[in-house]
Symmetry: C2
Subunit: 217 residues, 2 copies
């Protein structure tokens, strides 16, 4: 127990992802007017074990009453605080090609508090044009505009070949959180949080499942 | 050790995802003409521990020679076989809105062997039109066309409200692997592999990191 207390801060990557899942499940339950939910039911909805759910949620102090389950709204609020989505984040999108363009209109981002405030491209035909209600800014003005608009996160949807060059500028402008869609391993200083989104990974998971005829868990 | 042997088939979800990462790293190393790579170097490239890399790869028999490292091409081939990406998969895209449309031109899918053969929509203005070299088919003909074209995987990029209805039809047409982009928990029979892609999850990971000023090792 002492060990667990010491390691309280060491939440694993998969736990954070499961918190996102719980948050979604709880949002839905709230809409369906559920007041409480058991770990068993929450686990079933997310195809996890009740023990896993209890373990994940135990990181954040004691929740729920034996026999009654977790209070839906309270737990949802607590998870949103832990994930830091109980506020709005100012986000900039760099690159409005196929993926970048689709993401600008991805309603889920806005819904979770990720508000895209600026969009950038280097294509002269796109710069200055109205893109889904926002004016595309010149990437040359990126450093200045990121600072002036208090941007806190950057989504990078640029070709792999220019991604490192652009990420260096983003870092130089003081951004500490970057989500990269380019298929390349970017180098950033230790104090910058970088995540890579790879959409073919889930298809590879499916091809693994079909080839081996099983999925884990 | 006996226990580990018995559980050889039980590769975890995170291991499969890491295999995807290794595959990418090895593809790049091959291009850079590397013949061998140490677990230490591979770990460094993917920001993992060497022990983790060795553990993951040990699932698949013995690779590498102490002191020499893993043979790049051989390991890459082996991982592609494990992931089932040593072949081409016939994929259909259902829904060509913002996200679906962007994914049809997402080169990474094609590169990894996921070949989008058919695209469907229910919008009369889109049906029959040429969309990035492919004709948009009427969703009403989906069942027939999925069978006729030996489609093996379906990517679902439709509004949440119709997703369950459509997934039922997809399952009825004999599809056993589905990647869902709609923000809803879909119900499928046990013999159907379903994965959900949630692009705001990585942003939530970043907001967690910024709020708590750390990311898990």
């Amino acid at each position: 127990m002492a060990k667990q207390d010491n390691e309280k801060k060491k939440i694993s990557e998969s736990t954070i992802h499961r918190l996102s899942l719980y948050y979604r499940a709880l949002s839905l339950l709230e809409k369906e007017n559920y007041e409480t939910i058991s770990s068993k039911e929450l686990a079933k909805r997310e195809k996890l074990t009740p023990a896993q759910v209890r373990k994940d949620l135990s990181f954040f102090g004691s929740f729920g009453t034996r026999g009654l389950g977790y209070p839906v709204s309270e737990l949802k609020t607590r998870i949103s605080q832990i994930l830091g989505i109980d506020r709005v984040w100012n986000v900039a999108m760099v690159g409005v090609g196929n993926i970048g363009s689709a993401l600008v209109s991805y309603k889920e981002f806005q819904k979770q508090g990720f508000s895209i405030k600026l969009i950038f491209d280097n294509d002269q035909r796109k710069i200055g044009s109205n893109h889904k209600g926002m004016i595309v800014s010149d990437i040359k003005e990126m450093s200045t505009l990121l600072r002036e608009n208090n941007i806190e996160m950057v989504i990078l949807a640029v070709p792999a070949i220019v991604a490192q060059y652009i990420v260096d500028e983003v870092v130089e402008a003081g951004i500490k959180a970057i989500l990269n869609f380019a298929q390349i391993n970017l180098v950033v200083p230790d104090d910058v949080f970088l995540r890579n989104e790879n959409m073919s990974m889930e298809l590879e998971y499916l091809s693994f499942a079909l080839s081996n005829q099983y999925t884990p868990g």
